[in-house]
């Protein structure tokens, strides 16, 4: 067994873990943080994406299936469960995913949201192409990515004001429970 001492979603944990334990398994099985999921076994799908900051570094997106728990010793992990504010206010990326119907089954969603948070830190005003490229490590089978791209554009605008790439979607001023209509319907 090996000892790990790390912060996850703002709380410090000290644990004995098998050296072979993956970070994603540590989160799910030892901490009960089931929001982060396992979608594949080859590091391709990105469903396990979390933010990780090494002791001397800044946070970046990592695939927690491709990292051992012991490698996170001394560092700081943020999962999808640590994005909202303590009072429950959603992170702008979470809010945008909701407003733009950027999720269906929800399985890829935590990883996709975290990856998008990381993308927007690096590129606060991404073009559509940069969004698609930036999220190419996160697979989704349900949405066809169309609304995910719109959501990230809207989140960029919400977080970074003017100068964002123009969203191709309804404005973020839409009321909370309903999206502004985007299509005409002809009988």
């Amino acid at each position: 067994m090996a000892r790990v001492n790390l912060v996850v979603d703002g709380t410090r944990y000290v644990d004995e873990v098998p050296p072979r334990l993956l970070l994603v398994q540590y989160l799910r099985e030892h901490l009960g943080k089931v929001g982060t999921v396992i979608g594949c076994d080859t590091g391709n799908c990105g469903a396990c994406t979390v933010l990780y900051a090494a002791p001397d570094g800044r946070a970046q997106a990592v695939k927690s299936c491709s990292m051992l728990a012991v490698q996170a010793d001394g560092g700081e992990v943020t999962t999808v469960e640590g994005l909202a504010a303590p009072d429950g206010t959603l992170h702008p990326v979470q809010q945008a995913f909701h407003e733009h119907h950027a999720l269906q089954c929800g399985f890829c969603t935590p990883g996709m949201i975290v990856a998008a948070v990381d993308l927007l830190r690096e590129k606060p005003h991404p073009t559509e192409a940069e969004i698609r490229e930036g999220l190419s490590g996160n697979l989704c089978r349900c949405t066809g990515y169309e609304n995910i791209v719109r959501a990230v554009q809207a989140a960029a605008a919400a977080m970074n004001g003017s100068g964002a790439a123009t969203p191709s979607a309804p404005s973020q001023a839409a009321p909370v429970e309903e999206a502004a209509p985007t299509t005409e319907v002809a009988a």
Binding site: V34, V37, G39, Q104, C140, R141, C142
Partner: protein, 798 residues
């Protein structure tokens, strides 16, 4: 209680499901941890076909933390996993044991299971299992499998032919004779198309937890079909049905791939019974790609006859369909679901369809988004482009000349189906306008004239499909084992909140939201006051689950019928409370109102509280507003649409870039436009993926080469275009809600749009076909000399 002013139906309501999904408060099956729960690891056959001559679990049983290990012989009374669709009387239905005993017939077939205190110990112990195999000849190619003397997948069957099924419009009395059409044909085009094997690849790996405590079994499973799992587990384990509860918690996508009663579910059930403790099995992605059922894998030989003016006179479809090594629940019937759709939107007068199902030493095929209808749409939409090219006609024009006109609905097709409504003209005109068809054709011409190394192609797909599975009588006539009804119960609680208990089992489709919208309108209660329950056979006791784009088209009607029953019960109580006759009341603006005196009103919540107290109910009225309805549809649902794809083809690299993808779909009355659009986006993405990226490939030994996401190419956001989706709305006429199904439509439409575009780009070079997926290599080869087309034309051009 305030009444709801604006109707919910048609509103782009944001989803109720989202909050917990975007904050990680999810309930996937793999999250479940129960006291004393053990973990399973399954040893799978490395051979595509072999006898098991010896299996020794003794070393495995002594590995650290291992509680037990079982071979197929150790699992008593393995019943056969059921195929629910014996499509013909003489169909070969092989014994399908959940765990192999004497013989394995595909790579990945379960051979042994280890039960341990933790997953890692179980997986480690697999390596201590000793199995001796005697390899047997492997047959992978369908046409070879049908040859006399071919190795047999099932020796006792004496053949690899599972079934042969025919529909002939002349014999059925629904149309003319194809043989006569062929004899008289002015134009005849024959093509062979291959629907490559695909993998549904839902993002959540399958997982099952079985809890055998208390003399009853609770099965948590990432399944689309908890009700069917319950029924079939009871039948195949000998356990009384009422002792089994099946719960589908959150399910991360299905696409037909979780429409199954799996060996793993059966094994988990049997093992939990043997050890007397809860057990969990969660597959790895590699296991999933290998052993969860695959889709498509059909060879299509198509012949179309026509007159020189472009009028189609006949269609012959001959399918060779790969069953795989065993039959899943609907495996043999999947190609037949497409049988009635090859004639598509066209008034084809003579039609013959035949399908031969074939066993091979591969993973079984079964339902995958569209299930038979993408194949059908692909074939006919490719052939219409071939006909246009042959006759020098515009491909849109050829379709116009043959499709059912708006004023001709309802229309009985040559396949014997009655299409209730549709408007192919409106959808096509709208799509062409949004797409900028004329400008793109002009650009195409310019690029051709200048011999641009990057050519532009335009692909069209005008489709319809049959969904809303299904009228039970039709299913019975097709020999499917179950019916196609759906059931909904509505409970009005004393505080006025409403529970909708739905027999559907969503896995991403947003039923919680859309059903709330429908019932909010039906009962005049706020959207937020409705809660939808599903997926648990102890709660939603009756249902036929979710697949085949049926939950709204069938379940939605049951919901409306149940709501009507609630209102009828409520009316009598309202009349009593308002001291008038029930006939003096009208249901308006979310309440029962006295005619001419609308402020004299009672809402459903008010009535529910009075019913709960039951202090003053009219005689003969039971103290309950709750109602249930089970609806059997009278007809299939026929959404339709027009998809247009503009593809740039780089003839120097073979790379295809979709420049523009526009779709106009008509799914009848729309409940929630966000959800409809999302289903179209996702469906189109899978259709594009079949055209460009995905293929499940076996090597000559029967190993799945595409065994991980590194080789099986699910597209990412960088691999797909932006999808422009719009709608027309032509209501269904076979039920009061006017809705049609949408879940599979995008996938059904998209693949031929993309392939037609690439072929269109390269037609001047003599290309008439490119096998799917159209990899850069295949496109380059086609563009640079080897005509990948495989078919002949007869008859002269116009």
């Amino acid at each position: 209680m305030t009444t709801v002013a604006e109707p919910e139906i048609g509103r782009a309501r944001l989803r109720k499901e989202d909050r917990r999904l975007i904050t990680g408060q999810t309930r996937w099956t793999d999250n479940i941890t129960l006291p004393g729960m053990l973990h399973l690891a399954i040893l799978r056959s490395p051979y595509a076909h072999a006898k098991i001559t010896h299996i020794d679990l003794s070393a495995a049983r002594t590995q650290p933390n291992v509680v037990a290990a079982f071979s197929g012989a150790d699992l008593d009374n393995q019943g056969t996993l059921a195929c629910a669709w014996p499509v013909t009387e003489d169909m070969v239905a092989p014994t399908y044991l959940p765990m192999a005993v004497d013989e394995v017939r595909h790579v990945g077939e379960p051979v042994a299971v280890v039960v341990a205190r933790d997953k890692a110990s179980a997986v480690d112990a697999l390596e201590a299992i000793q199995v001796e195999y005697e390899p047997l000849p492997v047959v992978l190619d369908m046409e070879q499998a049908l040859q006399p003397g071919a190795p047999l997948v099932h020796a006792s069957a004496g053949t690899n032919r599972c079934y042969h099924w025919v529909f002939d419009s002349a014999e059925a009395g629904t149309g003319g004779s194809f043989a006569e059409a062929e004899a008289a044909a002015e134009v005849k085009i024959s093509r062979r198309y291959v629907q490559q094997r695909l993998i549904p690849a839902f993002m959540e790996p399958r997982s099952v937890v079985v809890d055998p405590s208390g003399g009853e079994w609770t099965v948590y499973s990432a399944t689309q079909i908890p009700h069917i799992v319950r029924f079939l587990l009871a039948a195949t384990t000998g356990t009384p049905e009422h002792k089994i509860r099946v719960v589908a918690p959150d399910v991360g996508g299905g696409f037909g791939g979780k429409l199954a009663v799996t060996p793993e579910e059966w094994i988990a059930f049997a093992v939990s019974t043997k050890v007397g403790r809860p057990v969990k099995y969660t597959e790895t992605r590699s296991e999933s790609l290998l052993s969860a059922h695959h889709g498509r894998d059909v060879i299509q030989d198509i012949t179309l006859t026509a007159r020189r003016d472009g009028t189609v006179t006949g269609l012959h479809v001959k399918l060779t369909a790969n069953m795989g090594a065993y039959l899943g629940i609907v495996t043999p019937g999947v190609p037949l679901l497409g049988a009635f759709m090859y004639n598509a939107i066209y008034k084809i007068p003579a039609y013959r369809f035949e399908c031969t199902g074939v066993f091979t030493n591969t993973t079984k095929t079964d339902a995958y988004r569209g299930a038979g209808r993408p194949e059908a749409t692909y074939a006919i939409e490719r052939m219409m482009d071939e006909l246009a090219a042959e006759l020098g006609l515009d491909p849109i024009e050829v379709r116009r000349r043959n499709w059912i006109k708006h004023e001709e609905f309802p229309y009985t097709t040559v396949a014997g189906l009655v299409y209730d409504s549709g408007n192919y003209e409106a959808a096509t005109d709208k799509a062409l306008e949004i797409f900028g068809y004329d400008e793109l054709r002009a650009e195409q011409a310019a690029r051709r004239a200048s011999n641009d190394p990057v050519q532009l192609g335009i692909g069209i797909s005008t489709y319809t499909e049959m969904c809303g599975l299904a009228p039970s009588r039709t299913l019975g006539a097709l020999r499917y084992g179950a019916g196609g009804w759906e059931s909904v119960s509505i409970r009005v609680l004393p505080t006025g909140k409403v529970e909708v208990i739905s027999g559907s089992t969503p896995h991403g489709q947003g039923h919680d939201t859309a059903w709330s919208q429908i019932v909010a309108d039906q009962l005049g209660v706020p959207f937020e006051d409705v809660t939808v329950l599903h997926g648990d056979t102890r709660v939603a006791v009756k249902g036929m689950d979710t697949y085949g784009s049926r939950s709204l088209a069938v379940g939605g009607i049951a919901m409306v019928q149940a709501a009507e029953k609630v209102r009828e019960k409520a009316r009598r109580v309202a009349a009593h409370l308002l001291e008038c006759s029930p006939d003096d009341l009208e249901w308006r603006d979310g309440a029962f109102r006295v005619k001419g005196n609308p402020d004299q009103a009672k809402t459903i919540p008010e009535i529910a509280l009075a019913v709960f107290a039951a202090h003053d109910l009219p005689d003969g009225v039971e103290p309950s507003l709750d109602a249930e309805a089970t609806y059997d549809p009278s007809a299939f649902s026929f959404p339709h649409g027009t998809h247009l794809c503009a593809a740039e083809v780089d003839t120097e690299t073979g790379r295809v870039t979709i420049r523009k993808y526009v779709c106009v779909d008509d799914v009848g009355k729309v409940i929630n436009p966000l959800i409809v659009e999302g289903q179209i986006h996702g469906g189109v993405a899978q259709g594009i993926a079949q055209a460009l990226y995905e293929e499940a490939v076996y090597d000559e030994s029967g190993n799945l080469v595409t065994g991980s996401f590194a080789e099986y190419l699910l597209p990412s956001a960088a691999d797909l275009p932006s999808i422009v989706a719009d709608r027309t709305e032509t209501p269904a006429t076979t039920h009061p809600l006017g809705v049609k199904g949408v879940g599979e439509a995008g996938t059904i439409a998209a693949t031929p749009a993309v392939v037609n575009a690439v072929v269109d780009a390269l037609r001047p070079r003599g290309v008439t076909d490119i096998p799917m997926p159209m990899t850069p290599e295949r496109v380059w080869r086609a563009a640079n000399g080897s005509n990948a087309g495989s078919g002949q034309n007869e008859g002269g051009a116009a």
